[in-house]
Subunit: 122 residues, 2 copies
DNA sequence: TTCATATGTCACCAAAAGGTGACATATAAG
DNA sequence: CTTATATGTCACCTTTTGGTGACATATGAA
């Protein structure tokens, strides 16, 4: 997966309305643009079409024109590819860091022992 | 994980330079801003600081000021959370769709059989 | 043809992202 | 003190994003 493709997928997913569109397409595979628009009370058709264009650019949505309608489909492949990448790329890092940081991850960073900076209190 | 947090994480990851910064921090944990900047020939310090602000906003980077330096750390927790979410949310969908679409995923969408539209010529 | 529907395209606008240089502040070193 | 280093902050600029309405096109129906 090339960097540009990753950019497109992450950027597409970095939007609540777009993630919501994916949910809609998961629930109603093959529905058309106006049907998707119905789910949004605060957004018009053109905005929905732009979001769909972003999603199609990331290959997260596939469309096919049937008559005057455009049928829309969620494509899970890019998500799966990132998922695969993370399992391989990050698992080693997680293992190493988790062993080093134990369960302190969410709480505080682990300062490097460059200089002695007073004792830890508690 | 709230929608806003997901937005922040995905938006932060939707940038090649930012993903590169994370790689740098994985390789050199605790290094400072200027050190990170050295890796970029086409970007200045202020731009790097803005990227770091985005990454910190997504909690993908944690920093700690030590003396006049700012030590930077990669935090894998948000990635892990999305990873976890995907394993649960998408696995069922993948199983169902993969069974239905078989290996045709990358190639073509699967049109719903709403109207009979001539025979497939292949 | 005529009318309704579904989508595509265009110009336009406001806000956010992504970059810069100039300057201020804080710390280390002499 | 002075000087160098590391970072923070500010105004400014350009490009992209995200939204709109008006209008054009394509299809379905009568």
């Amino acid at each position: 997966m090339k960097p540009d493709e990753m950019d497109a997928v992450f950027a597409a997913l970095a939007s609540e309305p777009r993630r919501r569109i994916l949910d809609i397409l998961k629930k109603e595979p093959g529905c058309n643009v106006n049907r998707v628009t119905e789910f949004f009370g605060d957004m018009g058709r053109i905005a929905v079409m732009k979001h769909l264009a972003v999603l199609e650019g990331a290959n997260l949505v596939i469309s096919e024109k049937v008559g005057r309608e455009r049928q829309l489909w969620f494509n899970p492949v890019p998500v799966h590819m990132i998922y695969d990448r993370w399992t391989t790329e990050f698992s080693a890092y997680w293992a190493g860091q988790l062993a080093r940081m134990k369960y302190r991850l969410e709480n505080a960073p682990v300062p490097i022992d460059r200089k002695k900076r007073g004792g830890s209190r508690g």
